[in-house]
Symmetry: C2
Subunit: 371 residues, 2 copies
């Protein structure tokens, strides 16, 4: 049933070079090329959730770091003082200009031969204008549009390297034992946002019983998001009002917090004295997975046969006949009651939410040094 | 427009302890508790995509590592030889038993006071029975069901710590410049699988023009997945046959590869002599984002007004009137032609796919030492 490491087939990677005590990295076989741009993510907040590659880029390779506004301060603190750090100052109405300025600055510095790190929060490729930057650096303008100096022929830059990171869309639920996928509660998950180009409201997805929905950049619009989700009709979501929702704030930071409730009670919860002031950045997780690991577990809402032969009720409910809808509601009702009980247990009778906050002390094991 | 690091507001994290040259970690303020279970992810493959926390768990904290079968060998190579390593031997029909065995072993070792690392591929909370393990370790059985020894009162274990990791669902597209979200091409993305409990086929999501769909664990069922997606009717997806799809194999490993084509040509591509043998593990990415960063960019399929006022065509198309459907098809047609041109450019006239493989040499900068 189990094999040991020595029984593994050989892997195609060459053996690593000898150890250095100063770094977990060997001396690189090819030093970094002049003008290299590295597009990296900071992870959700705790510096130990940086990838090793991103940590190396920040602490050993960068000559200049161009950071987005929401990059956690604890990550910025790791950057050695010899490295220039510039932080974008995005505010409503200014995002396009700040973005353009960062790209132009990165290009200018790379053309001087410096190693430029573009540092984004979370994973660099999730809602971060990653594509725009890749295209800009691939075919840069021959001169800055904001200057009047004549065009110069620049030698080509090395290809931009993008280093994936831990996205808060996945990490935040995990930090609070909310499984994005969970047998019996969620077979898929969707990452979306209500905020489109220019701040306009995007469509929200329809209810799928077997799906976890993660909503980024939506907490400031909680009321309209909930209204759209629970509404019925062509543009509304048809989500049941008793569906669990979690609002997770500052995931992986010392003051991280989750407020768990239902779609119909979450606004009340967020406005309560107990919850008090918001702690941005926040995100929403919606679906049965939110309560799946409460207590002894709450993972049978999909009601799958153990033999793997039965259809999921999620599928049957999508057929929309009245009988199946009723069966579906009855099963969801059991889970609703279980959830309400759990919320009351934590918060006192009559209160339909629960709040958890703070980082487990075990995370102290992973605090890391700066410089 | 930009502020410097020194102008930042103070952050609530205490300053890090003094530097150690042997490790990026300070001496931990609280040594790890006996019997601590750490549930961590390996990232997609390249060892530098481990988080710093996971690297520390493997190299400094673990007494025993219980690894899932697909954990990359290059990650296992980082584990010091003093640490016991056990690899689950899952095969079809045996997954439940292998899973149970790993959980029982973890519990047994933790009860001996050892630090147990449960190592999963990618992110620990994506399709990895994360929830089952959290519940099992939270309320463990007082004795192993597979032994006949009498029940013993065990002292409680420290709470299991789950450390988020980089999921291949997000990292694999990024490694090949495929943006999961991209203005003008994708405003949301969905992670799903066709494989349900007991191997049965799960429903596939319906076509949403503005959505990237990532399908994990589905390449072995490519034919039936494509058939379901492109079919019409109640259980089918209604995806246009010309929609771009990428099959990404062994992302971030030295022999990583992507095959990009359309839903109607992808099977042909995968069976071609040029592509040859598959390189598991693989995954699919489906949607306009697949071709969004080709050439100079291919990111206007959603046809949003620059003023942010216009409705997206994706929304209008969902209204399903014939006129809007035709308008939608006309725009998609432009992108189809642009994509076909790009595929022909790379692969010769008449061939409707393109293949890219290998890891950029810049990644050599991030090779890391074992021991």
């Amino acid at each position: 049933m189990a094999i040991t490491k020595s029984q593994l087939p050989p892997f195609s990677v060459p053996p690593p070079p000898p150890t250095s005590i100063h770094s977990i990295f060997p001396s690189p076989p090819n030093p970094i090329k002049p003008g290299q741009i590295l597009l990296i993510g900071s992870g959700p907040g705790h510096p130990s959730l940086l990838t090793i590659a991103a940590h190396r880029a920040l602490t050993e390779l960068a000559d200049i770091v161009l950071a987005d506004k929401l990059v956690p301060a604890a990550v910025l603190a790791l950057i050695p003082s010899r490295v220039e750090v510039v932080i974008a100052k995005k505010f409503p109405g200014n995002a396009d200009r700040a973005q353009q300025e960062m790209m132009e600055r990165a290009l200018k510095e790379a053309r001087k031969g410096r190693c430029v790190v573009r540092l984004k929060q979370g994973d660099p490729a999730i809602y971060g204008r990653f594509g725009e930057e890749v295209l800009y650096f691939r075919n840069p303008p021959s001169r800055s549009p904001s200057t009047t100096t004549p065009a110069v022929d620049h030698p080509p830059l090395p290809p931009t390297l993008v280093i994936p990171g831990v996205s808060s869309a996945l990490a935040a639920p995990t930090m609070f034992d909310i499984p994005c996928t969970q047998r019996g509660a969620s077979t898929s998950f969707l990452i979306t946002t209500p905020v489109g180009k220019g701040g306009k409201m995007l469509d929200m997805p329809k209810y799928e019983r077997a799906r976890t929905v993660v909503v980024l950049m939506g907490v400031a619009r909680l009321r309209s998001v909930v209204k759209t989700l629970t509404g019925s009709g062509k543009d509304a979501g048809d989500y049941p009002p008793y569906l669990p929702i979690a609002i997770i704030e500052r995931a992986s930071m010392p003051d991280q917090r989750v407020v768990e409730s239902t779609l119909e009670d979450i606004e009340h919860a967020m406005e309560s004295a107990e919850v008090g002031a918001q702690r941005p950045p926040g995100m929403m997780v919606i679906g049965w997975s939110v309560s799946a690991l409460w207590g002894d577990g709450n993972v049978d809402v999909l009601n799958e046969g153990d033999d793997g032969e039965g259809e999921t009720l999620g599928k049957r409910a999508s057929e929309s006949t009245d009988i199946l809808r009723e069966a579906s509601k009855a099963i969801e009702g059991e889970f609703r009651e279980k959830n309400e009980q759990e919320m009351k247990q934590s918060e006192g009778d009559g209160v339909r939410w629960r709040v958890r906050e703070g980082l487990a002390s075990t995370w102290d094991m992973f605090n890391i040094n700066s410089e």
